[in-house]
C-alpha cells in the first residue's frame, strides 16, 4: 500500500475526486493547506504598505491505495489537477506499512 499525497489548487479538488472515483478509489482525506514553490505569492496591501503573501491556499488530498494502482492514480490526479500554469502543485508517494479500518478493527492489505 502506498499513500499518494497531492497538493492541488483549491478549485481542483472536485476534479481530482471525480478522476479517482473513475478508478474506484473513493477513500481520501483532504486538508486545507497553504503552499509555496515556484509560484511567487500575491501582493497584499495593508495600510500603506505592500506585503508579499508567499503562502497561497492549496488543498492536500491524501489517498492510501494498493500498490497496483498507484501509477494509474497518479496519472489521473495529474491530469485532473493540471492547468499548465505555475502553482499547479505536486504529487508525492509515501510507503505505508500498515492500514486499519477503525469500524471493523481489521488490518487491510
Amino acid at each position: 500500500m502506498k499513500s499518494i499525497k497531492s497538493i492541488v489548487r483549491p478549485n481542483k479538488v472536485d476534479d481530482v475526486k471525480d478522476a479517482l472515483a473513475k478508478l474506484n478509489i473513493s477513500g481520501m482525506t483532504v486538508t486545507e493547506v497553504r503552499g509555496h514553490g515556484k509560484q511567487k505569492g500575491h501582493t497584499a496591501i495593508y495600510r500603506g504598505k505592500e506585503y508579499n503573501v508567499s503562502l497561497l491556499p492549496k488543498m492536500e488530498i491524501e489517498s492510501v491505495v494498493p500498490d497496483t494502482i498507484v501509477d494509474e492514480a497518479i496519472k489521473a490526479i495529474v491530469q485532473a489537477a493540471r492547468t499548465g500554469e505555475i502553482g499547479d502543485g505536486r504529487v508525492f508517494v509515501f510507503p505505508v506499512l500498515e492500514s486499519y479500518r477503525i469500524r471493523t478493527g481489521e488490518k487491510e492489505s
Binding site: R9, P10, D14, E32, P57
Partner: protein, 410 residues
Amino acid sequence: MNQADTAWMLIATALVLLMTPALAFFYGGLVRSKNALNTMMMSYISLGFVGVLWALLGYSLAFTEGNNWIGSLANAWLNGVGLEPKGTIPHVLFMAFQATFCIITAALISGAIVERMRFSAYVTFISLWSLAVYAPIAHWVWGGGWLADMGALDFAGGTVVHVNAGVAALVAAFVLGKRQEYPSSSLLPHNVPFVLLGAGLLWFGWFGFNAGSALAANGIAGLAFVTTMLAPAATLVVWSFLDLFRSGKPTAVGAATAIVVGLVAITPAAGFVSPMSAIILGGLAAFPSYIAMQIRAKTSLDDSLDVVAAHGVGGATGALLTGVFAEKSLNGIADGLLFGNPGQLATQAIAVAAAIVYSGVVSFILLKLIGAVIPLRASESDEGAGLDITQHGEEAYLHVGSTSSRAEVM
C-alpha cells in the same frame, strides 16, 4: 395621539425586534460550530411562528380586559387593533411593541436545550408556550390581572420575561436531559466574537426594551434609558473583579454574560429607581448570578448556556431589588424598602413566586405533551454529527475547496 411618543415607540419597537437576532449571535457563538446554525435558527424561527401567533391570539389573551387571569378574544386576529390611539400611540404599534417581547422571551429558553433538541419539537414548544405561558403572565402583570392589582412592579419584564423564561429553561433542561458529552468533555464556545456581537446588539436593543416600556418619550423614558446604561456597566465592573479574584483572568464570555445579567437585573426596575441606585443594583446583581453559575457547573444539570443563572436568577434579583430601590418621587407609583415601604418587597416576591410556579408547571406539562407525540431530542447519532447537518442540511462555515460537492441528479 402624541407624535413624539409615536416616533420614539417606532424606533423602540425596532430595537426590541433586533434583540432576537442579537440573541441568535450571543447563543450561536457559545455552542460548537457543528450546532451554530441550529442554535441561531432557534432564535430566528421565533420571529416567524411566535410573531404570527402573537398577532392572531397572544396579544388578545394578554392585553384585552378579561378576568384576573387571562384576557379575552376581543382582539383576536387583530380585530379592533387599528390606527386609533392606545395611550398616546397607534394601537397597532402598541401591539407590535408587545409582540417583540413575546418573541424574544420564547427564544431565550432555547439556551437551555441547544445542541440536542429536535427542531420541530422546539418550534412546537415555543409556539404553544407563547400562548399558554407568556400571554397569561403578561396579562397578570401588564394586562390588568391580579399581580397588577396587587401592585407588583415590573417596569419592562423582569418577571414576565426573565424569571418566566429562566424557569421554563430550567424545566426544559431537566426534561430534555444533558448532552451526551456533558460534563466529561468541555463544550467550549466556537466563536467568542459572535458572543460579544450579540451582547453589544442586545444592549443596544435593550434601550428600546426598557426605555420603550415608558411608552412615551418623556422623563421616565430618559430615566429608564440611563439606568439601562449604568446598571450593566456596574455589573461588568464587578464581574471583571470576580473573574479576576477567581482565576486571575477576566474573560470575554464573562464580560458578555455580565452585560446581559446587568440588563436583566435592571429590567424590572428601569423606570422606578434612580441612576445611582441602578449602579448599585447592577453591581449587586453580579453576585447571585455569578454564584449560580458556579453552582450549576458542579451539578449535572445541563442548562447549556446558563439561562437560569442569567435570566432566572438575574431577573428574580432585579425584581426583588426593585422592591428595595424604587422611589415614588421619581415614578409617582411606589416606594421600595429603602424608601420606607418594606411591603413592596413582599409584593415583588409574590410576583416572582407566582411566575416560577406557573411557568414551571405549565412548561413541564407542555413538554411532556409534545414529547408524547414527537421525540423531544435529536437522535444520538444526529447529536454526534451536529444538528446543523442533521436538522437543517447545512454547515455554518465552508472554505473554498474544503468540500467537494456536486449537484445531485434530479
